[in-house]
Subunit: 521 residues, 2 copies
């Protein structure tokens, strides 16, 4: 079913140099050789995407929703071959990957329902007032797609944040053609999903240019894609260095374009005193479960805990130490990620400002969890303690009082999530802490753990810089579509020439706002 091709619309191309995937468990090269897309492929994919943009933008909501559902269907239809490939390439266990596939498919279906609901168009009409002095023209506003979107998948969610992941689904939902730069950590998985999307495009009889797939292992490929003048926006999930590099390319184009890079976060967890007193051991156990989930390879992994020093924190330490020490080492996504994690933990172990509390059993090729403690003073002065170590490593900041906790929060950069554990007795103090967290993160949660991101209408998976390059957005949930839209106002355009959503008789029965008032459904 796969042959290592570059997929430019309907066309499959082979091109040297070739590369292979790897078995995450043992590092063995995979059997399949994959093409590396070159500048010509980038240009052809972008040209084709641009030529598909208008027909895709003007599809009815029903037709675009059906296409999203067809993508979901085709991914499901790959069957177990998909799970088998992604298990090898990611080292992630089957139940997690079956769950991730369900999430990927449900996400496409949620966007389909959102496209049909039509609120994303934000249709807003100010009818003409011919008798006013001067006469008011007829004004009709709606959102239109930005145009072709470049998508860069992440290694840690080879399905849900990759070829047909949230960025692709939301760009399609918004009406934008997509050119995916395949992630070299899961090339077989990537091609399987890319071919499934291609079948959905064909089944729906859409312009083949709405999707192309460019495998490759070089940074140059990604840079060329972002630099292509036909690309109008970028969705990225990955490292801070990678996201900033793409943002810099996008900003220096002749026409700068928006980059939505979801990059790095340490996702602070605040343990309020009464909660800590009431359930230090339970909190420690659940914390280590969240910390070690998927070998800690989550954007929302709890990398920092902020708590008040004292006997209750000592109880938390004792229980967490037990849990970390007992945590089995886990296969990591790639040798490179394992190496970076090992180096990050070694740097913390060598850092006099960080005290090693616990480390999991040593393993030469797997990631072992690690837990450190630091004083609030060290945390304030040593920026290295606030840097993300991608994997199951976390630092507990010991604070002498609530003021010190507030200062530690104040010193954090932008985050994807911020968690607070509190009991009712903590609420008066927590009311001081919550506004601080709101200023730092896209999602604030109480008495839970940040790993696990629901795909819903209300979700925000985003946050102030450097969690993302654009804190006004989310990459998960229906609002993710808004990243790829811009408003256009039509003034006195004859009805025959108006786009269908803003025509006078509302043939698609979309929700509208007229003279400031919503029309009844």
């Amino acid at each position: 079913m796969i042959d290592g091709s570059i997929l430019i619309g309907r066309e499959a191309r082979q091109r040297a140099p070739k590369f292979t995937g790897f078995d995450a468990t043992n590092g063995d090269a995979g059997p399949q050789y994959f093409s590396t897309a070159g500048n010509e492929d980038v240009a052809d994919a972008c040209l084709l995407a641009a030529s598909a943009a208008e027909s895709f933008a003007t599809l009815s909501p029903e037709a675009r929703a059906s296409f999203l559902e067809a993508v979901a269907y085709e991914i499901e239809a790959i069957g177990d071959d998909l799970i088998a490939n992604v298990m090898v390439e990611s080292g992630l266990p089957r139940p997690r990957l079956e769950g991730e596939r369900a999430r990927t498919i449900n996400q496409l279906r949620l966007f389909a329902s959102e496209v049909r609901a039509g609120l994303w168009l934000d249709i807003t009409i100010d009818p003409a007032m011919p008798d006013r002095t001067p006469p008011r023209p007829d004004l009709r506003r709606m959102n239109v797609p930005l145009g072709p979107v470049a998508v860069f998948g992440a290694s840690n969610f080879p399905l849900a944040f990759s070829v047909a992941g949230g960025d692709t689904a939301s760009a399609f939902a918004a009406g934008c053609p997509v050119v995916v730069k395949g992630h070299p950590a899961h090339p077989a998985t990537g091609e399987l999903v890319a071919r499934a999307i291609g079948r959905a495009v064909a089944a729906c009889d859409l312009h083949p240019g709405i999707f192309s797939y460019l495998p490759g292992a070089s940074n140059e490929l990604g840079g060329a894609l972002v630099a292509d003048p036909r690309i109008k926006a970028v969705g990225f999930t990955g490292s801070r260095a990678g996201g900033l590099a793409l943002a810099a390319i996008a900003a220096t184009r002749e026409e700068p374009i928006p980059v939505y890079a979801e990059m790095s976060a340490i996702n602070p967890v605040i343990l309020m005193p009464h909660a800590l007193n009431a359930r230090a051991e339970d909190l420690a156990r659940d914390f280590v479960t969240s910390l070690t989930l998927g070998a800690g390879q989550f954007c929302t992994n709890p990398g920092i805990v902020i708590a008040m020093d004292g006997p209750d924190l000592d109880r938390f330490f004792a229980a967490a130490t037990g849990a970390v020490t007992a945590a089995s080492p886990q296969v990591m996504l790639t040798a490179g990620i394992h190496l970076a994690f090992t180096k990050g933990v070694a740097a913390l172990r060598a850092n006099p400002n960080a005290d090693l509390l616990a480390v999991g059993p040593a393993h030469s090729t797997c990631g072992s969890a690690a837990l450190f403690a630091a004083s609030a003073e060290a945390f304030a002065s040593d920026a290295s303690l606030r840097e993300e170590v991608f994997g199951a490593s976390s630092v507990v900041v010991r604070c002498k009082d609530i003021d010190a906790m507030a200062r530690a929060i104040g010193g954090l950069e932008g985050q994807l999530t911020a968690t607070i554990h509190l009991d009712p007795e903590d609420e008066p103090t927590a009311s001081r802490i919550l506004p601080l967290l709101q200023g730092k993160a896209g999602r604030i949660l109480a008495n839970g753990w940040p790993t696990g991101v629901e795909v819903t209408w209300a979700m925000v998976h985003g946050g102030p810089f450097p969690a993302t390059t654009d804190g006004r957005s989310t990459s998960v949930g229906t609002l993710a579509m808004a990243r790829f839209l811009r408003p256009v106002c039509y003034q006195d355009i004859p009805d025959e020439l108006l786009p269908v959503p803003v025509k006078h008789d509302n043939p698609w029965k979309l929700p509208r706002r007229i003279d400031g008032e919503r029309e009844p459904a």
Copy 2:
């Protein structure tokens, strides 16, 4: 009523060096000396704004709307002293300025009603599903203000796009404190309005930090303001060089921030063949009226006309030549703008690719309208023909057929507006042209003129780069608020700690979306 102060919240400061305004008509220095804000003033204003941010963000919609109405009231209460000052400083005639004052006041009132309507919060709730496996948490999303906003007013709308103009009104409406960098072309007007805002802040008993005013004539002042870490977004209307300079500062901050710069546009007007044939003379007359309105000093001034060559275009030329030749020279906003306009027209006159069709009566200190023609080939190859000349200057591009017209449109940069004049017989061809225009501009209008921007729910005053630095936004109309908001999701937060708009019993009776469905009003 004015004394040249810097206004930091309630505090008025005097600081050297001082500068004066000028009488636009004769270039005479005004009687009042104005302080130049320095780095200490910038830092103090931003610190005060940051300290006011939370209380302003959490105001009820009713309280924030009342404040916007108080600002409108206080501006109106200045009375004729405001008009008298701005007439001197801008050289604009009384009826235009009375209209602009009404627009400024009505804009504040429209934002007040929009704040009350509450749709801008985009309240979205996914109730908990405790019985699901795994249980779904309670998720509540709403928009929150970004924080303190720096506003840079424009010289060409000393009221509607300046101290209490659209950027300030929309930032206040979104719940953001505002620090205005005063425009040196109208310092007396600026201080009068700034003091009116200060009175409104006091009358509503709000934190004084929500508004500060920094007069000054230096670029350093503006740069320091954008660089201040407490500033979270920038609104700017002005030149391309100015907007890009501020955007560059914002992008290289430790925490980059969004810059909404409305910069430059040549606002193409497309004359379709049947319309041109049916009413060449009327089109020419109305075009010159739009071109010369306010001495052509509008962001939406029609700087380019694209039409098919032939006898009908010759009729248009003849009538337009008559109208331009008869157009009285007009006082321009500043000596600098007059000089830049004179140089721009001189460059076109010296350009062998541009044929001078008509020029208004010469005048040493006023702007005289100028109209040029160029071939489609010259327009394609000579970028200088596509550059904005701020003032009443326009270039007509002669095309041999519709394909050439489409190519000329395709060669344009992003625009604020694009206008098409058409008759019913033009519609089949126009249906090809409209998607091209939609790709280039934020507002598309038919059989009208781009000057004149309604302040309504449906308006878009924005467009792809370089019309603005962020084509996903508008600086006029209620949607302008969206520029200063970001979404936050609250997961399982106890009701007592939730922000009021997302509390379970909806005490402010705001519109909400629950599990994807809008609640009935």
